[in-house]
Symmetry: C2
Amino acid sequence: MTPASPDPAGRAAALADAAVTGDRRALARLLTAVETASAVGEAAVRILHTRAGHAHVVGVTGAPGSGKSTLVNAMLRELRARGRSVAVVAVDPSSPISGGALLGDRVRMQEHAADPDVFIRSMAARGHAGGLAATTDTAVIVLDAAGFDVIVVETVGTGQSEVEIAAAADTTLVLEAPEMGDEVQAIKAGLLEVADIVVVSKGDRPGAGRTANLLRTMLGPVEPADAPEAADAEPEATSGPPARPPRRVPEVLITTGATGAGVAPLVDSLERRRARIEERPVTEARVRRAATMVWSIVSERVRADLASRERAAETWALVRAVAAHEIDPYAAADALLATRDATARRDEEG
Amino acid sequence: MTPASPDPAGRAAALADAAVTGDRRALARLLTAVETASAVGEAAVRILHTRAGHAHVVGVTGAPGSGKSTLVNAMLRELRARGRSVAVVAVDPSSPISGGALLGDRVRMQEHAADPDVFIRSMAARGHAGGLAATTDTAVIVLDAAGFDVIVVETVGTGQSEVEIAAAADTTLVLEAPEMGDEVQAIKAGLLEVADIVVVSKGDRPGAGRTANLLRTMLGPVEPADAPEAADAEPEATSGPPARPPRRVPEVLITTGATGAGVAPLVDSLERRRARIEERPVTEARVRRAATMVWSIVSERVRADLASRERAAETWALVRAVAAHEIDPYAAADALLATRDATARRDEEG
């Protein structure tokens, strides 16, 4: 067992050391700490981020009832059969209380209980959706550093934030069940925009082929399996942000979770994508993910600074003046930043 | 007609001047500009924020099918009967394409087409949920400055961000339909946490009284109608943030949209809340809303600065180093902030 340590950094370090050497109980405890305490999350990322970057992060999302759990289970079996270790993070932001995802996970966990190369984790909403996205990012870094080959992030695609969690992956699968008829459910939620691969699930149902053809027509020509990886090419070492490339036409595949039909071709496609990432690991998707993390930390740092003991009086006086409609929020923000910069200068001169 | 102006500030100023003097076409154009261009949104807020603060902002949220539109229409009629001017902002983040909300609005608009003191506006998702929240805040400031007595912000309570949009109001109504039986739908989505008033809609259905009693038991004792306003008392002029007070027990009311039963008592309650706000306008809710706006502008300013021409090279080199797992995102964020502070010092010295 890892020794308990009172300070977050020490606790994170002890758990991280144990987790990366294969101690699954330490890994579970580290993830619990990450979920409940942001100080531990920061410490864990600081320790583990530079050891991460080897996992293929696969986001799986789709409307409720599209068959996400069944597909993830089938993918899990196929990946294990090919010798890949797999961690699954099931994000369920809409149900802080309900046991839906947790129950499903218990069933999954039973199947793989004896397999040390499978790790399944549910993350329920703790509060803010942004918080959940940040917690998921941290959990992915932890699991990546712990050595899992594939990390599946499964979310229900009902809200923008949930979709963004899944889309913060190397490869994003969007599920579409065929029985919906003409109306493709994924369109409504804007899911198709984030898809690298669209999976028509429940391929044994009559409408599956028709739905797949409808999707292919909507999305454009089918991507050849060995097409050159234009969109994920290594970004040039220019100074600017990565120009968001025109999205590649997603592949459309059909799977049948019950029989496993179509799952091997899906995993083949994932493996091809993995190989391309291994060749050039700094993909546009990863640069965007890194930028999102850095921006969010910068924002938090500036906020914490403005709310710190030395600055709180002025900060809250300005906020109250905004609430009283005496000044506008842009003027308040600019005044706060000007004071912050002036203090930085004084600190230097003093 | 307002003259078109090429620069965002000029355009916003011209439209704002016309809008606050009752030009509804200018108001509509200003809101369109706010929805589609952030520069115009900033200019509009800068001009109009100090003219706002008189409207009672009422958020209305609930699960799909809980009867939001029917209730809002009934409230609208009752408020008009009492001489209040009313603007309705219907936020529909989940349906960028579907015409559900828009269709409902067209029906509403027909009823009030000849009434200059009613204004109804749909806001569909444009992209990021945070963006939609910011756009909604801006639209509320514009409508407030335009002189509407009551601004109703209606959202479907399916995701955290949608709930937050409704909760950024002076008073938040959460709807609960009775037919759901024992399982109170609002619990799942965390809706009840944001409620000032819980409305059991469809009061003519058999389960309505039972649902109301269930909710009252869950939420605690019924608030006396004229209880002293402890939670929304004027914050003391201390330096700190407003301590989030223990939430007041929400009122539970029953309405029947079809007959209008219960709507007058609901509007009575809204008017009592309005009177308390008019007495002490800088409520905790408004301070929190102001803080959220100021934080979000501060974050955007710092980001824009780091991505500016002078700093972009270093910023993106650091982000790429994070994507390559060479440095951790906290180290990158701290390096960016240190450079920013150093530049502020150099600018001063030079």
